[in-house]
Symmetry: C2
Subunit: 199 residues, 2 copies
């Protein structure tokens, strides 16, 4: 078989597989639980990429940011300006700005209550809980409460939970877990964090 | 030391580290080369998350999509509607729609020429080459040509290259390589690809 024939055959096979996949794409019934974890970059940014996709399909989106309260980020400025996303930021900002564990816990619980209500309402196609894994890691939230909240979400609502060190119980519950692994990182080679890329 | 004191001390240390990091955040000089690869989800969506961050900081962004030509995606619809991103999609669509290797190569080369011109122009803070690794994997593009194009980019231009099976030469050249690893995938447990999440 010539290279060209071989190529054509491979492409035909991929086309058939792709078509089979596309033909399955019309099921909006079930909402998924997605976890983005790992020590690499891309956990939050890929969640915001998913937000963009959802908005492109005219879906309704809510975002609750845990931890990153007071820091000005590009994503926050963008979505504020866009005005299409219900956005809630945990009131106390970075936990290391408060240095008060009880306040941190109260702030995390209030933020999760907001996310839980959005998930249960049936009004949202997508609810992002950005950096919630950090709140879980510090035991500001109980993993069983988060799972109960996810379990109570409306049928068509997809939830995305981000942050390193995702709890094993949460990963067990999730439909999809993606680990972002740092293979090579510019901070390690003396390059500074940059606006637009890192925050 | 009490738990509360211990917590406070940890938080103070993190606060100091965070401040040191934030104080370094004002260097817009150097553009980075970022590669998102691996067999997991989030390679393209995190690139679009980076686009959002850049737009939030009023940066200028260009996107060239390789391979995913004709497929209607949420990101494409969103950015078309937004009208703030210079967008170019490789003309021939999915390579397995053409089944003609020469046309695929010509389309990939034309798409990369577009990306190279944007990178060299100095007009863009960020240029995303989405799924370019697929074009490299099929030898539609030469990795040395892509590296030459990256090398010729303007000083402040960051480039993001996505797609599985990134070439080792490209990873060596890049400042940052993130591997997205599929830990648990819904297609494997019988859940269909979904609008807004997967495309």
């Amino acid at each position: 078989m010539s290279d060209a024939q071989d190529h054509k055959q491979k492409m035909q096979q991929q086309q058939a597989e792709q078509r089979a996949k596309v033909s399955e794409l019309r099921d909006p019934e079930k909402g998924l639980v997605l976890v983005h974890t790992g020590n690499g970059k891309g956990k939050s940014s890929s969640a915001f990429g998913v937000v963009i996709r959802a908005l492109g399909w005219k879906q309704k989106v809510g975002v609750v940011q845990f931890i990153k309260g007071k820091w000005i980020t590009g994503e926050r400025q963008f979505f504020d300006r866009l005005g299409e996303v219900t956005w809630h930021t945990m009131g106390e900002g970075f936990t290391w700005d408060t240095q008060d564990r009880d306040r941190d816990i109260a702030a995390a619980e209030a933020a999760f209550a907001k996310a839980r209500d959005m998930m249960a309402s049936g009004d949202y196609d997508l609810v992002v809980m950005d950096e919630i894994n950090i709140a879980l890691r510090y035991d500001y939230l109980k993993v069983e409460d988060v799972i109960t909240g996810l379990e109570g979400r409306a049928k068509g609502t997809t939830a995305v939970l981000t942050g390193r060190d995702a709890k094993p119980e949460l990963c067990d519950y999730a439909d999809l877990v993606t680990e972002m692994t740092e293979v090579k990182h510019p901070f390690h080679s003396g390059i500074k964090a940059q606006r637009g890329v890192d925050f």
